[in-house]
């Protein structure tokens, strides 16, 4: 076995050294009934790299690869070009095969990178502080709701209809057990969001209002009035950003008064990966820092006065506080956070702005082109790199039909909101810098043919 360095002769020698006559002697505590005497059913013995590679490659070939077809899916996961140096750097063994930096003297690489990551996230979101990452956007969103409950000691969260339905589902699942009340609604296929509903729903029971920006249909709302109303009622505004690239073109939620900003960081540095691993971003105002979940990296000095970094404020965390922790989270998404940070360092202000500008321009072009197809209507007034079309037919079968023609044409609202009749003709189309003019034409043609 290529991964096991012990030779049989080593094993014999070591058994002798520990005073065991066979390996079974070391498993004496296992009750007789629990010893597995047979091999795992159906599992072959160890295999060569070549054999494993063949088996997995065969599976990989059964998937339609985004980069090989006209591709327009978004709805919480975006396909951007990631510079080759990002993957090169995160594969450095010192990053890839290190652990949570519990021994900071020999983990300054991870720690400094996390400190830089936190700073980048805080600035991007327009917040004071950010943590060292969460699992993903959807779980970060629920953690934010819990945090708001902890801060406000209230139990009602008002969720915008534009919040990603998976994020709503996660909150739903958890709220069932925690007793939190969720005020929610389905979105409508209109240019306007449900900002009015939110303003009306915020009251003295409200812990927080949760608004996605841009929302699941791609619409962009000014968060300022919502923040004002929330603050007036003693509630917090939680903004959710599923496409961080957007913040290169539009104002940050923090600037507009959001108290907590969470979101998905996958767009920057992390590939599609069929949904994971991704990286949850979490930022807030400084005054709430001790209520934050997750790991935090902080600056300090060493015994010689040199600057260094450590994990800090761990009295919020489970390994110290156990059942009184701010969250049960332990593992974060460190390597994805590193990828995010490396990509963001390459982009910088200039690159992120260019990238955002390019995304928006391509999206506008695509929206204008697609709106000309018979049976297609653009729902949005405002959008960044993703917009919603109302088709003349239910979108879900249209998406499937286009896929058979080799065009991955978007995400149907039927897939996102199963059972919501009013939404079934909606198609969410994302257009990033990876989309070519030919791709847009291919989608237009596929829509035309499928809707005809």
């Amino acid at each position: 076995m290529r991964y096991l360095p012990l030779a049989d002769s080593d094993r014999q020698e070591m058994l002798r050294a520990v005073g065991a006559s066979s390996i079974d002697d070391l498993f004496v505590d296992v009750p007789e009934a629990a010893h597995l005497s047979t091999k795992i059913e159906g599992l072959a013995d160890h295999a060569s790299e070549l054999s494993v590679e063949r088996q997995l490659t065969a599976m990989a070939r059964r998937n339609m690869v985004a980069g090989e077809v006209p591709f327009f899916l978004g709805a919480g996961a975006y396909r951007h070009h990631i510079p080759a140096s990002v993957d090169h750097l995160i594969q450095r063994g010192e990053f890839l095969t290190s652990y949570t930096p519990y021994q900071p003297e020999i983990a300054q690489g991870t720690l400094q990178a996390l400190f830089e990551f936190q700073t980048q996230v805080a600035r991007l979101y327009g917040c004071d502080v950010a943590n060292a990452s969460m699992y993903d956007g959807s779980t970060a969103c629920w953690e934010a709701i819990v945090m708001a409950r902890r801060i406000t000691r209230r139990g009602k969260a008002v969720l915008s209809a534009g919040l990603h339905p998976h994020y709503v589902s996660v909150a739903d699942t958890m709220a069932k057990f925690t007793g939190d009340v969720l005020d929610k609604a389905l979105p409508e296929l209109t240019a306007e969001t449900d900002a009015d509903r939110l303003l009306a729903a915020i009251d003295e029971e409200t812990s927080c209002v949760v608004v996605q920006y841009p929302d699941i249909l791609g619409r962009i709302t000014d968060l300022t009035p919502i923040a004002d109303k929330a603050h007036e009622k003693g509630a917090l505004l939680i903004a959710v950003v599923t496409e961080p690239v957007a913040l290169g073109a539009i104002r940050s939620p923090g600037e507009m008064g959001a108290d907590i900003v969470v979101g998905e960081g996958q767009s920057i540095g992390v590939g599609l990966n069929f949904g994971g691993p991704y990286v949850g971003l979490f930022a807030c105002k400084e005054k709430f820092v001790r209520q934050m979940p997750g790991r935090l990296c902080g600056e300090t000095v060493d015994a010689e006065g040199k600057r260094g970094f450590v994990l800090t404020l761990s009295t919020r965390e489970q390994h110290i506080r156990r059942e009184k922790a701010t969250s049960n989270i332990c593992t974060n998404s460190g390597l994805c956070a590193l990828a995010f940070s490396v990509h963001m360092t390459l982009l910088g202000e200039k690159g992120l702005r260019q990238l955002a500008n390019l995304n928006h321009a391509k999206a506008v072009q695509a929206a204008e082109r697609l709106a000309k197809v018979a049976g297609v209507e653009l729902v949005n007034d405002s959008f960044f790199n993703e917009f919603t079309l109302r088709l003349s037919k239910p979108a879900r079968p249209v998406v499937r039909a286009m896929a058979e023609q080799g065009v991955l044409g978007g995400v149907s609202l039927g897939r996102l909101f199963p059972g919501a009749e009013a939404l079934q003709n909606g198609l969410v189309v994302a257009v990033t810098e990876t989309v070519t003019d030919e791709d847009i034409e291919a989608l237009a043609k596929a829509l035309q043919e499928t809707l005809a």
Partner: protein
Amino acid sequence: LEEPLIFEMDERGGTGVDFAEAPKVSSRLGSLERNRDIDLPGLSEPQTVRHYTRLSRQNYAIDLGLFPLGSCTMKHNPRLNERMARLPGFADIHPLQPVDTVQGALKLIADLGEWLIKLTGMHSVAMSPKAGAHGELCGLLAIRSALEARGDKREVVLVPESAHGTNPATAAFAGYRVENIPATERGRVDLAALKARLGPDVAAVMITNPNTCGLFEPDMIEISKAVHEAGALVYCDGANFNAIVGRVRPGDLGIDAMHINLHKTFSTPHGGGGPGSGPVVFSEALTPFAPLPFVEKQGDHYALIEEETAEEHHGRTFGRMTAFHGQMGMFTRALSYILSHGADGLRQVAEDAVLNANYVLRALEDVLDAPFGKSGPCMHEALFSDKGFEGGLSTLDLAKALIDEGFHPMTMYFPLVVHGAMLIEPTETESKAALDQFIGAIRNVAERAKAGDPSLKAAPVHAPRRRLDETLAARKPVLVYKEPEQAQAAE
């Protein structure tokens, strides 16, 4: 040379990416165009590569040496798995693609799930939990759902003193009250005390097995029986499954739910703290309550069961825990690992892990106190205490001195049931030569600790940093970089 922060490099106008020129269009940004700088530095590619390469060299890693963090299972991460996870057929597919276009991905999830079920002897698996603690949550929500489904409102979860902090935290996060179960002198769950506490208010018992003292719970079957008789359920923390994989199936021990840290047993890389992946296996009793989504093989077709289709035959699910389908990138690596090792190799993994740990235990018990050393062999990790250290020296000092010897320290001060605990997990991917070298280093440092050598207090001296002031960091938290003038103004 000290590596500055990117924010100190004064490259506000720089960038390491080029873009095609954007077509000219009228903006549709809803009048919310950004009107303020984000203030993000940008580095050219050469600067970026150098910055992160230099930073990386301030890290210790498995690739550099033995990393004996007990309970963390720092084993070698095979590079084949990295290559497989990067196949465009896995890495470049979108979670919401039509299921007909991702049949290979769904098959991979189904195959991995099947091996996890078979390896644990359980009934079903939830693949979506994003990490171990998320898996614990998944297990407890299923337990709570099952109890509530039978109208049973129980409020307490029992957790051993020696449990990982995530156990009580998760139970609390799931809305339970937590009570401790004491340990025996031999480092096991106190069966009598447990039985005495069981009652109609107890929803579940969370047990780690092998436990965090590195010992197998010999009463596990009896514990499960007692818990079930009391109407409660058994959650097993599977963090240490690596010690028994291929030799013992948790399902045969009577447990109802267990998460599996793919990054521990199945060697997906830890990456400086994550990502993890925490699939949960369930007993038949809990299966109806498992979360969405999951993959189901229907003839030649792999179906994705989500909210829409769940009602048909999975209507009692407790719901969705995360967007999308879980940690696909980790699934690929874990399956690659399982297929590479195969049935014989996985069993060998457990045996070598246990052998290596016992070898360390026996090689050190004359210089370090091994509180449970007399009670028999350990499993995959060896536990020591700081008993006998002189001159005010502690576990921390020994750990830091080990850094100067070229090794990453063991887990310190955990589990809490032992004073100044030192938990050493070598894993199966260490050679005997590496163990001997490590043992030599520890013996050297332990002798010094017992002799009260004050120079240990100064360790490490050969690391990128001397001891860091953690109190200062927590007292005046500096969590983001501020320009010197800002930082000054803030004071």
